[in-house]
């Protein structure tokens, strides 16, 4: 097993710079997920680790060895592609054996490795089938099998579940997690799906416009987003963000004053953006809560929960509320209660989180 270290990684295509100095250290056996919107540079970063894209500047180390000029085959990484990249003319066994044959592994060893991996992935009965005769989930398993048989130091996943339907995606997500727990191989996983990122990652790297916005565990990023981008990207629905002004006792949003339950330390009068997670509000007042008067627009039942679409201080907001099997009591909601410690504060100009410590 090995760690992956990226320092000052830059990628340029001609004059256009698309990745602007990535610094990231993936520890041995760690599962790191790069997440961000389309075009943020996450796949390019992964492809630079794989050796499929040249690194314009910076250093890439795998297992302590500089890899910038090392050919992909010598980096000891295995990659799972978004569209599976299975050879259509080969059956499952031959697809899985492809990399091993290229490396001239003895036939009996190949057969044993394929059999063991197929067993792990539940593919034993499909070994003689061609990719066209498999379902999407089975193809994805074959793609993973092809990576696993190589026993690489690092697994690279490039949006491997994005071609699957929602149900299968959930299943495969769990399988990948189980597989990682079992094999313990260092993994870098790219996705644009924040749910995949939250559920799979030991640490999440949120990227935007070729830069890292924040690195941390899923709950660190969820509870303490470093800026408005991360706050808006993680969470479904995303965090409600509204312009506000700090006062001596809290934050003024439109005509309402929200209790922040923390010292303002001379920041009064400062323009900020406050963030409230949809799931953090309650319908009943509680300890250190502020009542927000809302104008309810729509109730979307999701089963055990419902989404309340409303307007507050001339801003569209979405909150979550429990249904207890019925949404009738939600139709007339005119105010929600926000617990002060859970309100996030960001600088209005930079979008960065404010601590208000001094």
């Amino acid at each position: 097993m090995a760690g992956v270290n990226l320092s000052g990684i830059i990628k340029r295509y001609g004059a256009a710079q698309v990745v602007h100095g990535i610094d990231l250290n993936v520890a041995e056996k760690e599962f790191v997920v790069l997440v961000g919107p389309s075009g943020c540079g996450k796949s390019t970063t992964l492809r630079m680790i794989a050796g499929l894209e040249e690194i314009s500047e910076g250093d890439l180390e795998i297992d302590g060895r500089r890899m910038n000029r090392v050919a992909p085959k010598d980096r000891d990484v295995a990659m799972v592609f978004q569209n599976y990249a299975l050879y259509p003319h080969l059956n499952v066994a031959d697809n899985m054996a492809f990399g091993l044959r290229i490396r001239r592994m003895p036939k009996d060893e190949i057969a044993t490795t394929i059999a063991e991996t197929a067993e792990i992935l539940g593919l034993t009965e499909y070994l003689q089938r061609r990719p066209a005769d498999l379902s999407g989930g089975q193809r994805q398993r074959v793609a993973m099998g092809r990576a696993i048989v190589r026993h690489p130091k690092v697994f690279l996943f490039d949006e491997p579940l994005s071609n699957l339907d929602a149900k299968l995606r959930t299943q495969m997500r769990a399988e990948i997690k189980r597989l990682h727990n079992r094999l313990g191989v260092t993994s870098v996983y790219v996705t644009h799906d924040q749910v995949e990122a939250m559920t799979l990652a030991d640490r999440i790297v949120v990227m935007n416009d070729g830069r890292i916005e924040q690195v941390g565990t899923p709950m660190e990023l969820f509870n303490n987003p470093a800026n408005t981008f991360v706050a808006g990207f993680l969470g479904s629905p995303p965090m409600n963000q509204m312009k506000a002004q700090l006062t001596e006792t809290g934050a003024r949003v439109g005509g309402s004053e929200i209790n922040l339950a923390r010292p303002i330390n001379g920041h009064a009068g400062r323009d900020v953006i406050i963030g409230i997670r949809p799931e953090h509000v309650t319908l009943q007042p509680g300890d250190q809560t502020t009542a927000l008067p809302i104008s309810l627009d729509l109730v979307e039942p999701l089963g055990s929960e419902a989404l309340l679409h409303a307007r507050f201080a001339e801003t569209e907001v979405v909150f979550k509320a429990e249904t207890h099997g019925n949404i009738a009591h939600l139709q007339g909601v005119s105010e929600v209660h926000v617990p002060a410690p859970l309100v996030q504060i960001f600088d209005a100009e930079t979008g960065r989180a404010l601590s208000l410590e001094h």
Partner: protein, 337 residues
């Protein structure tokens, strides 16, 4: 609110597909024709523009391919241009008996088969090899220049091609004989020597058509999923291995389809090039069925005998293409129909 929609939304492609499906269902519901005739009328009303676009091709097929088939009957008649096709008397298979007892015709059939076999052996792989080689060229400008150079001969008239070949192989002043002279060899008048006709003819065909023929294989190569190559690179394959293990198997269906078409045309040796390059001294190896038909039909006026030979030619081609198609379907699951 800021950055509300930076998270994951619905997939726009999925939405378009769903909408298209719904539109089709709605259209299907909007009419319920009672009979097949009503359904057909309704179909033409909706899709008439497509049929208008199709019409020139259909008309071309009828006028130039189906209508002339009426004249095929003279292969079984003692045809006279004064009596016409309909009034000439039937003679059964007499022309075919004459054909198969004619040594020149039998020789032409064998020549056609031998030239076609050489064409298939050397001419068919040439564009595939060229396409694979083009695919390995990484420098874009060099690749485009090389492609343009090899495509050019296709656009040159056969008359000029034959002129170039005749000049190149001329006994005095021809580039080939000049080169032979450098090595102290005597001049050879290639185009009067029967043993040289086939290599020159097949070589000329490759030079003229291999480049242009490579386009279809290049298109097939362009259709290969790039991530197959990326995956192979990560697995450690080199370019040679990728060509054998990914490119060629991926374009195999295209290769087989082109092979079936080629086999269907096996009796159609490039007629005008043979006419332009052969001479009585090389008839022994150069005279093919089509040139024999040309001489008998047009120059000697034996239209009925020429029609019989043409029909025989077409039947052989039909049997060959049917056989190739069914073999390909059985062994590779690829077929023209």
């Amino acid at each position: 609110m800021v950055d509300r929609n930076t998270g994951i939304g619905g997939n726009p492609v999925e939405e378009v597909v769903i909408e298209a499906g719904e539109a089709l269902r709605d259209r299907a519901k909007s009419y319920t024709p009672d009979t097949n005739w009503a359904r057909m009328v309704d179909h033409f009303k909706r899709e008439w523009q497509l049929y208008v676009m199709l019409a020139p091709t259909i008309i071309w097929f009828i006028v130039f391919l189906y209508k002339p088939m009426y004249g095929l009957q003279i292969a079984f008649k003692d045809y006279s241009i004064f009596r016409g096709v309909a009034n000439s008397p039937w003679v059964g298979l007499e022309h075919f008996q004459v054909l198969f007892s004619n040594e020149q015709f039998i020789r032409a059939v064998w020549n056609t088969i031998k030239i076609s076999a050489l064409n298939l052996l050397f001419g068919f792989p040439a564009p595939i090899i060229l396409a694979l080689m083009f695919n390995e060229i990484l420098h874009a400008t060099y690749k485009k220049t090389a492609q343009t150079i090899v495509y050019l001969p296709h656009f040159i008239s056969s008359v000029i091609i034959a002129g170039i070949v005749i000049t190149a192989f001329a006994p005095t002043g021809g580039i080939v004989n000049i080169i032979l002279g450098w090595f102290g060899m005597d001049s050879i008048y290639f185009l009067t020597r029967p043993e040289w006709f086939r290599p020159i003819f097949v070589g000329t065909g490759i030079w003229q058509e291999a480049g242009f023929g490579s386009i279809v294989f290049l298109a097939a190569i362009a259709g290969v999923n790039p991530s197959l190559y990326e995956s192979a690179v990560v697995d450690g394959a080199n370019r040679w291995q990728m060509m054998w293990k990914i490119t060629i198997p991926s374009i195999l269906p295209t290769i087989l389809i082109m092979l079936i078409i080629r086999i269907g045309n096996i009796m159609e040796v490039s007629f005008e090039l043979v006419i332009l390059l052969y001479q009585p001294a090389t008839y022994e190896t150069a005279d093919v069925v089509n040139t024999w038909i040309y001489r008998q039909g047009l120059q000697s006026g034996q239209y009925d005998l020429a029609a019989a030979a043409g029909l025989f030619n077409a039947l052989v081609a039909f049997v060959l293409v049917m056989t190739a198609n069914s073999l390909s379907r059985r062994f590779s699951q690829t077929s023209l129909w």
